[in-house]
Structure formats: C-alpha cells, structure tokens
Symmetry: C2
Subunit: 344 residues, 2 copies
C-alpha cells in the first residue's frame, strides 16, 4: 500500500457532550492509527494542558504530531447558528474552522451544534460556487453496511439542480471517503415507477440520468434499510423527518427489548443466554453506529461528529476527516459541479 | 350503553392477498361482535356460495344480516388506478363502492389496491367540496397505542390549506372512529421551534392555531413513536417516505431478531426462555398491527385494509368502517371544512 499523504486536522477539543474526556483520547488514538496524520487540538489551554499531562508521557512519534492550539472559550452544545455567528469568535469551533480557512489545517472535526458548525463553515470557509447551503450526509445502518443519506435538514425546499448536487456530492463522498467503488445512487420517491413523484423529483431524475455517477433511479423509503443503494438523495425536509422517525423507532425498539429481557425470570434468562446475539441487534439499531458526517458544499472539509460519540466513534470521525482532506473532496465536488453546469 | 345504530357495510370479498378465505370469516366475526351490523358481501357468486355453504348452517341472527351481492369479477391485487377506472366496472371493488354511492350501504371495506380504491372512490362517490384528492390515514404503532399519520402518498405537493384539511380530517377520525377524546394533533416539521420549517408549514401552523381542534404545534419525526400526538400531519411525499422507511427498519429488525434467536444453542435457548417477551416486541414492530385506514375526503366512507391482513385484522377494519359510518364521518368533515372556509 502506498504511504498516505500527510494531513493536518483541527480538532475542536470542547465539542460534544463529553468534551476533552473523549476528544483527547480519540485524538491520540487517531494519531496512533494513522502515522501521517498531524493534529491541532483546539481549545482552552488551561484545560488542555493538564488533561494532556494526565495522559503521562507520549511516545515521541505521537507527541511530535500533536499541537495544542489556544482558543478562548467553548460554545455551549445547544447553541444556535445566530449565537455562534455573533458571539462565537474566540471559541474552539470558530478557531478550528479558521485554521482550515487559513490553510493551516486540511479539515476540522467537531461534535458541537450542527447549526453552529454550518453557520461558521459558511462564514469562515464560504460555499463552493453555485451551492447555496451546506449539506449534511448521514449514514444509516442496515444489514450489510450503511446507506449515506442527504440532505437532512439544511435545505428544506429544493430545486432539481440541488437534488443533483446532493447526488454528485454524496457519490463522491461514498467513493473517495468511504471507499465504495462505483457507489449506487438513488433518488428517494414515493414509488419506483418512472411516472411517480412531483415535478421536482421528475426533473431531477431526468438530469441525473446524464450525470457521470452510478445513478440507479428512484428508490423508496424502505430502500434505506434494504442495502439497495449506497447513497439516497432527498430534500432536507423529508430527509430530516425520515431520519428522526427512524431514530425514534430504533430507540423505542431498543427500550422495548431491554425491558423484555429484564422483566421476569424467563425474560432475564432469555436475555442472558442470547446476550451476544442481542448485543448485535441492539448495535445494529444504533443510529450513531457510523460516526462522522461530512458537511458538503463548503470550500473546506468540516466533519460533524455525533454529540454523544464515545472515544471509538470520535476516532472514526477524525480518521474520516483525514480521508476527506487527502482526497480533496471540496475540489472534486467543485470540479464536477462546474463541469456539468449544476449551479443552483 | 345505548344500542348502536344499524350500519350496512359493503365488503369486497375478493380484495386482499387471501381473498375469501379471510374476508368471509372476518365478515362472520364482525357480524357476531356487532349485532346491529348488516353486511353485503360483494363478489363472484360462483365462489361466494360454495364458500358460505362450507361454513355450515349459520345462526339465524347472523344469516339474516348477511347478504351476498353479485359482482362479475375480481380486480388483480396490483392493479393500477387507470386500469381500475377503464376495466374495473363489474368488479367486486367497483360494485362495493357503487353500493355506497347508491345509498344501499353506509361504507365499503376492501383490501385491494390503494390506487384502485382511491380512483374508484373519487369516480363513484366524488370528493367533498374543496378537497382535491382522497387522503389515507395510517396508524403507526408506538409503546402506548397508535399515532394516526396523514397524508401518505396521494397528495405529494400540498398547500397550507390542504395541511389544515388533513389535520381536521385526522382529528375527527381519531375522535369519532377511534374514540380518542380531544385528540392531540401535531404538524410534522424539522424542529419544534416556531421559526422552523418552510413557508407552507409556517402558514399552516398559523391557520391551525385558529382551528377548533387540539392543535399542539410542530412535532418531529421521532414523535411518531413517542406517543406525544394522536394525529401527525404532513405532505404525502414526506409521509410516504417516513412510513416506508419505518416499515423497512421494522422488517430489518424483525428479521435480525429472528436470526439472532435461531442461531446457535445459546441464541435458541434465549429465544425459548424469552419467547413471550419477544413475541410482544415483534408484534409491536408490526406496521400492520392496526388495520383499517380510512380514505378521507370522499363523499362516503371507504376503509382500506392491509392486503395481507388475516381474519382478526380484517375484522378490525370492518368494525372500524361500521364506526366511521355511524358517526357520519364525511358529513362532519364537510361541515368543518365549509364552516372554516378551508377549501383548497
């Protein structure tokens, strides 16, 4: 295997529910797993320094690739986009994205508020020409892997060109970041038949057939879980409802299973005997099984981690950001959008 | 309890995957459970008569309330709306809805194709004034009951007035048919906050606050499974995607659970000990746990049964149709729509 290129990542030390207690061990773990990664851990030095000291002395090969970068404050988890724009300067998220804007980092990772990340991404990095708002791609777990789904809430009403942009960005991400060769891309609709759907999906369907991606046509809601596509595209309004409904159903099922296998002697015995099988089913239902959702359409790489990610999950998001940075995802997206005149 | 009023139902004997082997026993069961019900079982007499004879002699109290009504043919299960309109005359579905149109029945129940039912409902009964297309209300099972959700696919692009119509129709159905007093109605959106959503949901939100229903505001996708609302309203495009995605996830989970508890000795032992608890969880995941989805907005009562309904489920749809007929659901909907000038 060829040596990977060097990549420099800015990690928001304070983003996410668990702050430094997750971001620091995840940073060390990512540095260990990827020897050409360099990390700028961005946060309040008064907190970063003692936390780092508590890790004991690091191997030289790790220590030389880890730099602390000072920020004045940490944004609260539930911060709005407007608050982040008005009061966010000096925060670890702002400083992390600023490093990307200045070319001092190739990508930024944070587990902070999605709204704040989008707002600061747009403000500090800017959008690629012809793309109106950043698009968040989420990964939905199914029996054999994940379906990438976008958009999930930023773009509530979309044009056919935006749907095509989502498809192109999703396809490039699945291929370059997730390593899926020739990813199958579908357009979510109320039926598979050519005649189905409203005018916008009909128009997007026509455009998508001409695109240099593996577009397989209309897919339905259940195909998110059937493994039929690698990337599923829809407007942000439907996407948000679908994702949250699925999360709601998954949480309900998890709680009912836990209840069923803790109530009564036979339930508890059943749970004990089947604990391994049960664990797999519960893990499969976990909507955060795949961590690291790229914000697509920006002039730089920003990757969102789940707020409640643990060290293993946060490490996954960091490694994914390294991959997106090395593959120059924004440049590739920009090139396809311009080549096919897909400006919205 | 006051004696219920008489209600006459037309049952499509051939609708659904199992045809007469489900519709006939369900008809007899419904007649037994509801002593003021009268049923016209609509189908091909050459098939109906021997099937009925095979049941042995019926009690007089049942036999006197069951009438066979001749149709020439049965529509295939996967029939399109256009086929039903062009070639459906003489079919059991057409004849059943025709009985409602003529006033010879108060409601029609079928497990046939949704598209065919909608098309023939519009053609033979007509829409209530100001309503453009029939709306299908589905019931989504959650921990403590069901959330009624509409629309689910007939109305892909909606106006704010249509969303308000859906809310009014859903509220009346939940109250009059399902017996929920003061049902809580929510509008599906990408967030709870007043500022969220696109212009159509914003406008609908404003109108809904003025309506004589228990409108609780915006709800999110996960609230379909939280028990926070009795009725959730959205456009048919999103509704269809949500419903099918949930069905996809439920089917995947059911198959993974079955697999987990049949693989290996410990899995099988676990499944055996926890079989009762497991059965409850699996039943809770079954999207067809509640059978009987009313087609709202027509000038008569038409209730859709799941195609794969068994006798118990089909009986439920029949009893629900009886309730909708007695409560004069179309008249009540019409009255509210006119009173509040909600014509689309």
């Amino acid at each position: 295997m060829p040596q990977p290129e060097k990549a420099v990542l800015a990690i928001d030390a304070h983003g996410g529910d668990h702050g430094l207690s997750v971001t620091l061990p995840a940073t060390l773990s990512a540095l260990q797993q990827d020897s050409r990664l360099e990390i700028r851990l961005v946060g309040v030095l008064d907190q970063l320094e003692p936390a780092l000291a508590a890790q004991g002395s690091l191997e030289q090969s790790l220590a030389s690739r880890l730099h602390l970068h000072a920020a004045e404050s940490a944004l609260p988890m539930d911060v709005t986009a407007i608050y982040a724009l008005r009061k966010g300067e000096g925060s670890s998220l702002w400083a992390g994205i600023q490093l990307v804007a200045e070319g001092a980092a190739d990508a930024c990772v944070s587990g902070g508020s999605t709204g704040a990340m989008m707002a600061l991404g747009v403000r500090l990095l800017g959008m690629l020409p012809g793309i109106e708002r950043p698009v968040l791609m989420a990964y939905i777990p199914h029996a054999d892997g994940f379906t990438g789904a976008l958009d999930l809430g930023a773009n509530l009403s979309v044009t056919e060109r935006q749907l095509v942009q989502f498809a192109v960005m999703g396809s490039l991400t699945a291929e370059k970041v997730d390593g899926i060769s020739n990813p199958r891309v579908g357009l979510l609709n109320v039926g598979h038949e050519e005649s189905k759907g409203h005018v916008t999906v009909q128009a997007a369907h026509g455009l998508l057939k001409e695109m240099p991606i593996n577009y397989i046509g209309f897919v339905e809601g259940n195909d998110l879980y059937s493994g039929k596509v690698d990337v599923a595209v829809c407007d942000g309004f439907s996407g948000n409802l679908i994702l949250k409904a699925s999360e709601g159903l998954a949480r309900l099922t998890i709680s009912q299973l836990r209840q069923a296998f803790s109530a009564g002697l036979s339930g508890r015995l059943g749970g004990w005997f089947a604990r391994r099988a049960l664990k797999r089913v519960l893990e499969g239902l976990d909507p955060s099984a795949h961590n690291g959702a790229p914000l697509l359409g920006l002039r730089g790489v920003v990757v969102k981690s789940h707020g409640h990610a643990d060290t293993r999950a946060y490490t996954q998001a960091i490694l994914e950001a390294g991959q997106a940075a090395r593959k120059e995802l924004p440049r590739r997206i920009d090139s396809l959008i311009r080549q096919y005149n897909l400006e919205a």
